[in-house]
């Protein structure tokens, strides 16, 4: 009997088990919580690895030509499409994507859920060959093909 009375009395003066949340700030999530993505376009190299590993295809990449040499690359991450697996952050070799611990992903419009970033990138230089070099390469390829065909024919004839 006595322990119960003690517990009852101590509960009278303890602070409530209910979180005070809307009156206070949102509490910190657990360590390594995976919340809203953050994307740093200054580090991204446009390798596309994040797009490959993402199961729900949460990101869209648009590539526009700014002029003949540079492209504007825009990544958009849709936070209502993401399943918060963290694979993109793990696979990004440049540590461009990190999972923040912001979990208040509440909104009324689709734009509230978009994480976007864009950056400019130089286009890769097109390889330059002289016409003689191209002719030589073509001849080499044709010779190789003829040899292979001959070998196949010889094998079929056996």
């Amino acid at each position: 009997m006595l322990p119960y009375v003690g517990r009852a009395l101590s509960n009278l003066f303890r602070k409530p088990a209910t979180e005070r949340f809307p009156k206070t700030d949102a509490p910190e999530p657990a360590k390594n919580y995976r919340g809203r993505l953050s994307y740093d376009p200054t580090k991204c190299i446009n390798c596309g690895q994040c797009i490959r590993v993402c199961a729900p295809q949460a990101m869209t990449r648009t590539i526009e030509d700014v002029d003949s040499e540079t492209q504007k690359i825009t990544f958009t991450f849709d936070m209502t499409s993401c399943t918060y697996c963290g694979l993109c952050a793990d696979f990004c070799s440049q540590h461009t994507i990190t999972m923040s611990n912001d979990y208040m992903i509440v909104g009324t419009k689709p734009e509230d859920f978009m994480v976007t970033g864009s950056f400019l990138k130089k286009k890769p230089v097109a390889p330059k060959f002289t016409p003689e070099q191209i002719a030589a390469m073509k001849a080499a390829a044709a010779k190789k093909k003829a040899e292979a065909d001959a070998a196949k024919a010889a094998k079929a004839g056996e």
């Binding site: 088990a17 209910t18 979180e19 949340f21 809307p22 949102a26 509490p27 999530p29 919340g35 809203r36 199961a55 729900p56 295809q57 949460a58 849709d78 936070m79 209502t80 499409s81 993401c82 399943t83 918060y84 979990y103 208040m104 992903i105 509440v106 909104g107 009324t108 689709p110 509230d112 859920f113």
Partner: protein, 158 residues
């Protein structure tokens, strides 16, 4: 006068109805945990109801599977106006990892109006509470607009 009293008391007790449209149960558990003593949304009047006819806020979770689609539409048709729809988690908005599957027919916007969305897989209870608070504010606006429209209608007729 009675109308005002009823409206004022309804402001403080937005009842929730939960539709599981093929959810994995993660979001459903989080929604239930919002009503447990730790987060205790019932102190703001949110209460889970068993019938769509008593609901003010409809919470939909899951990627709208073909099996649940017609039932969801039928249930939504029974909710009295005005009501708010909250999409819970990433699934109803985009299909999440099931995007493009033959078995789902989303997003939820295709079938009803979505007032507030919560991102996350699964959202944290704090985010759900924030979304419900937002939904009840929107509901109040809707109710006000409906009353005004009613009044204008009555004046026109008399």
């Amino acid at each position: 006068m009675f109308q005002k009293m009823i409206d004022d008391s309804m402001k403080r007790s937005p009842w929730i109805f939960h539709i599981n449209a093929g959810s994995c149960n993660g979001c459903d558990i989080e929604l239930v945990s919002v009503l447990t003593p730790r987060y205790d949304a019932e102190r703001f009047g949110f209460r889970l109801t068993g019938s769509p006819r008593q609901a003010d806020i409809v919470v939909v979770s899951g990627p709208i599977t073909l099996q649940s689609r017609d039932r969801m539409i039928r249930t939504l048709a029974q909710v009295p106006e005005p009501f708010c729809v909250v999409s819970l988690g990433s699934c109803p908005r985009s299909g999440n990892v099931f995007k493009g599957s033959y078995a789902i027919d989303g997003p939820l916007e295709k079938w009803t109006h979505v007032d507030v969305s919560v991102g996350g897989c699964t959202p944290k209870p704090e985010a759900i509470i924030a979304a419900l608070a937002k939904a009840s504010a929107i509901l109040e606006e809707k109710r006000k607009a409906m009353r005004q429209a009613d009044k204008a209608d009555k004046e026109k007729r008399s």
